[in-house]
């Protein structure tokens, strides 16, 4: 195969044959190497979480990709094509200007107007000192109730936007909660305190991708419907009059929580 090996002759066949296969093989290996290189690059550039999120978003069922403006009733129907990242959405302002119409009561669960909500059922609260508190919203709380264990990042750890902020274990289900924004963890709370994480973003963050006001109502309503659908797959009972009963996971162990949690926390 190589000139220094017994039996090698500088014949045309040798040269043509080996160069052909050399080319093919190097093409294959180069491809593999390139893929690996790009992967490492993404990690270095902190794009990994975003990439994963985009991959996952791409495979969400259509019904779970609804645009916030549709949820807010500003549009009849629109699918998000920016992976829920309204910061990059060119049409955002155009639609945001339209009037919303969602009766606040439509939401099956309570929410606060001065919190920003993430589709992964976390809320964000900007504090005076420029840090941001992150917590689970009511919907998620009702679902999970009191988790058996919570695994929070260490202080000073970095969290990526759409990356996994913390994980909880409940009835043997591992729940991975997405971080609504990127930054450094400066303190950690938990189920008992009123927040889970306090983080300090690297720069003044753009929070446009988070839901607020009527969108939240619409979104939560939609979520409750979804929940209802998924649970009724097991046996058809749910909260009386649309308000959710607490600690559903304990109350209804029979349901397909696996699927429910996945769609709730958008974690495939």
């Amino acid at each position: 195969m190589f000139p220094w090996i017994d039996g090698f002759h500088w014949t045309p066949t040798h040269i043509i044959f080996l160069s052909l296969f050399g080319a093919a093989l190097s093409a294959i290996l180069a491809t593999a190497a390139w893929g690996l290189w790009r992967t490492l690059g993404d990690f270095r550039k902190h794009l990994a979480a975003a990439t994963c999120w985009r991959e996952n978003f791409g495979e969400l069922p259509a019904v779970e990709k609804r645009c916030r403006h549709e949820l807010a009733g500003r549009l009849p129907s629109r699918q998000c094509d920016h992976a829920f990242d309204c910061r990059t959405c060119p049409n955002y302002d155009k639609f945001a200007a339209l009037p919303a119409n969602v009766p606040a009561s439509r939401a099956g669960v309570s929410y606060s107007d001065n919190l920003l909500y993430h589709r992964g059922h976390t809320w964000v609260r900007g504090d005076w000192d420029g840090t941001f508190a992150i917590g689970l919203d009511e919907f998620a709380k009702h679902l999970v109730g009191s988790p058996e264990s919570v695994k929070l990042p260490e202080v000073c750890d970095e969290v990526e936007s759409e990356g996994i902020a913390w994980t909880m274990i409940k009835n043997g289900h591992k729940i991975r909660v997405r971080s609504p924004l990127a930054g450094t963890v400066i303190s950690t709370g938990g189920p008992d305190s009123d927040f889970y994480l306090k983080i300090l973003p690297h720069s003044q963050p753009n929070l446009r991708h988070l839901l607020k006001g009527p969108e939240v109502a619409g979104w939560l309503a939609a979520e409750v419907d979804r929940l209802q659908m998924q649970m009724s797959k097991g046996k058809a009972t749910l909260a009386d009059g649309g308000t959710m009963m607490p600690d559903l996971m304990d109350a209804e162990p029979g349901s397909d929580w696996d699927a429910i949690l996945e769609s709730t926390f958008i974690d495939r």
Binding site: D6, I28, A32, G35, A62
Partner: protein, 413 residues
Amino acid sequence: MSETALVDRRWIERGAERASTMRFLLWLFPWVCLLLLGVYAAGLCFYYGLNQTNMDNRFAFGLWIFLDLTVIALGAGAFFTGFLVYILKQQDLKPVLNSAVVIGLTCYSGAVAVLMVDVGQPLRAWFTFWYPNTHSMLTEVTFCISCYLLVLVLEYIPVLVKNRQLRRVPSFLVFEHQAHKLVPVLAGVGAFLSFFHQGSLGGLYGVLRGRPFAYRQGFMIWPSTFFLFILSAIAVGPSFLMLVVATAEKITGQKLVDFRVYRKLGFISGVMLAIYVAAKAIDTYVWLNVTSPSMGFGPWDYYSYWPLSSTFLFTATVPLGLLPAILFIVPRTARHRGLLLLAAALTCCGVALNRFVMTVQTLALPTLPFDPFLKYTPSWQEVATFGAVVAYGVIVYSLSYRYLPMFEAMKGE
């Protein structure tokens, strides 16, 4: 739901309808047994040597080479579908692409595994790369197949890491994301390699000047069988793919791909098959009237021994070649799912028969005038190893179907 079932469920696509864990295990059980038996048989061959087989100095190749040639032909769907989707941009074939990759991977890895058992000194296999004789078709085959196996692995990884649990490892998912952009390159290289080794597998016999039954004239260094094998492989690949998917649909009771895909695959098979049959006819004519007589061999020397053998040539070309081609192409029949699948089945049988004739019949026929016509029946070890490859294919495909998004493109977006 039991604990294992729960865990099992977590590895399955969200919202995917799959058989219960128990049923799945029951389905796997016989195949696993077959696989283990085959592995044991192969072990015997490694430990005691090839005297475990019924091959001999005259039947130096046997069941296994037939298996290799057939399986690799059937696996051709992988490269050709990839070629169509990524190079010729036939996006509507995307739904079956993943299963094509899985089929290809199993076929090729299976074939290579059997080859390793088939050689007398497996530990010297790498000599072929170290001291390659570039004039040998077998060298070409070895190089191509090992390179192409690499390609298939690289094509399979993205499918693999799409598994619900594996994808949670960010690096996997990111790699998948990046690798996906490069699949066209792989598809291109794969096509190149496949064209060559499918051909070389034909050349393997076509160059045998000492075996006038197999020897063919050709173009430059390539005998006509080189091109015939490429054609037949391309023809049978889509058919086999279609057959496998249809079987999967039957077993799982789910609609996996749209019927349009079937028709498209069928049409490709049909056209290729038609070209192949025509080429084969010309080749046979030239061989029987020019090539073979020039070496002192007449048709009688091939077909006088074993009455059945004379029908092989006809069977492989007409009922198992021309007929399916027609079924595939004529719209009235192609519209009919049953006929389409029948045609696919016929095509697969036809190509298998052709490979059988090229490998086994070639060796059974005597060359020396005072030689007898030889018979050979494989030993149980050979058969078991054969079965193991089939089992291996079924198992890998089943696992992939259950745990990987094989037909993701079907998800209504």
